[in-house]
C-alpha cells in the first residue's frame, strides 16, 4: 500500500510528517485484520488518532461517526523535534540536489478506555494495541511506505506502562495508558539549493 500524502517537505517538516503518520496509522488501526510480515493476519482495533495539539474525545469509546473508537482505543503522537540537521548532496532524477536529514523521536501515547466494565479490560487493550504498533514499527516491510516518503530508520522501544487504570476507584476514569518511544530520521530535499 503506497501512501498518498506528499513526502516530508522542508516547508512543513512537522505537519507533513504527521500527515504521513496519520495515513499510515489509519491504514492499520481501522478495525480490520492485517498481516505483519509472514504472520497470519491479526485483528487491529479501530483507534482514534491524534497529533500533539488535538484533544481526545470523552468518552473515548463510541461511534466512529462521532469521532470515537468502538474499541475504546486512541493513539496520540507527539515528537521531540530534530535539533541538528545535516546536509548532503544526491542525484535525484539526473539532477544534483541537496538533501537534509535530522534525527528525531516520536512518542506514541496509547490509551484504552472502556465505559462498560463488563466488556473487557482497558489494561489489556492498551497492552495489545501497543504490542501491535511495536510489531509494525520494527518491521521494515510495513514501514517501507514511510521510508519512501522520508521517514527512515525507525527504532521503536517496547511500550512502557504509564498508567494501569483499574477503574475500581471513585474518580478513576478507567483508562490505561502506554508509551511507545520510537527514534528515527526525517529526510527531505532542500529545493532552494538546486
Amino acid at each position: 500500500m503506497a501512501l498518498t500524502k506528499p513526502a516530508v517537505t522542508e516547508l512543513r517538516i512537522e505537519s507533513s510528517s504527521f500527515d504521513l503518520w496519520h495515513e499510515w496509522l489509519a491504514t492499520y488501526f481501522n478495525g480490520a485484520a492485517h498481516g505483519i510480515g509472514a504472520n497470519a493476519p491479526v485483528l487491529f482495533p479501530r483507534a482514534v488518532l491524534r497529533y500533539q495539539q488535538h484533544e481526545l474525545p470523552k468518552p473515548l469509546e463510541g461511534l466512529v461517526n462521532e469521532g470515537r473508537s468502538p474499541d475504546g482505543v486512541a493513539i496520540s503522537l507527539a515528537w521531540v523535534r530534530p535539533s541538528v540537521i545535516r546536509y548532503y548532496w544526491d542525484t535525484v532524477g539526473g539532477q544534483r540536489q541537496q538533501r537534509a536529514f535530522g534525527r528525531c523521536s516520536w512518542m506514541f501515547w496509547i490509551r484504552a478506555e472502556l465505559t462498560d466494565k463488563g466488556q473487557g479490560n482497558a489494561k489489556k487493550r492498551a497492552q495489545d494495541t501497543g504490542d501491535l504498533l511495536f510489531a509494525l514499527l520494527q518491521n521494515s516491510a510495513t514501514t517501507r511506505d514511510l521510508a519512501a516518503k522520508g521517514i527512515h530508520r525507525l527504532r521503536p522501544e517496547t511500550p512502557q506502562l504509564v498508567s494501569a487504570g483499574s477503574g475500581s476507584k471513585p474518580g478513576d476514569p478507567d483508562y490505561a495508558m502506554r508509551l511507545l518511544n520510537c527514534t528515527g530520521s526525517l529526510h527531505y530535499a532542500v529545493r532552494s539549493q538546486v
Binding site: 495539539q53 521531540v80 523521536s105 518511544n181
Partner: protein
Amino acid sequence: MFRIDSNLSGVIRQTERLITRLPVVLQQELQPDKWRDEARQLALNTLNAIAQTNEAAYVGQFVATMQASVLAGGGLSLALKSPFGPGATLAAAQAAKAALDPAAGAGSLFLNPVQEFEALILDWVSTPEGQGGKRRDARDAGKTDQDIADLIAYIMLTPFAALGWKGQQARLKLTPHIEAFVKGQTAQGLPEATVDLWLRAVLAAWRNLIRFKYPERVRAALLAQKGDL
C-alpha cells in the same frame, strides 16, 4: 632507507585534552536555560496529546507550573506539579525530608516538597476553622501562626520512631485533619487519577527528551571545540 613516523604522542595529547574538556561540556549542556523552552513545549504537546475534551482547558495551568533549575552537585532538574493544590502530599514530604541533606542547601532535589508541605501547614493554620482550617485551643494561645505551623511541620515530618509518645499521639490526631484540608484544596479541577497520569506522562516525555538530545548536544559541543582539542 625507511623512515617511520608516528603521531601517537599527538593523539595522546588530544585525548588528554578531551578527557579534561568532557566533564566541563557535560555540565555546560545541562544548563537549565538550554532546556527550559523545549521542555515546556514538550510538556504542552504531551498534555495536549493525552487530554480529553473536558480536560484540555487545564493543560495551560499545568505547564505554567514548570520549573527548570540546577541541582546541587551539578545536574538539571525539571519539575511540574498540579496547579490545583499543594504538590507535596504528606507521604511525599515525609519521604523528601528523610532524604534531605541539609548540606545540599537550596539546590537539593528534596527541598521543594518539604517547603511546599511547610507552606501548606501554615496555610492550614491560617485558615479559619469554618473553612477547614485548624481548630485553635489553649495550647495555641500566645503563639503566632508561624510558630504553630513550625511545630506541626516538625511533628509531621520527623520520622515516627524518633518522636516521643506525645509527639506520636499528636501526629496520629493531626494526620486526618491535614489530609482533609489537602483533599479540600485539590477537589477542584481534575480527578486525582488524571493529575497523576499527566505528571507521569510529562516525566516520561522529559526522560525521552534528555535521553535523546543530551548526547546529541554534548557531541555537537565537542565538535564545535574540535580545533581547540
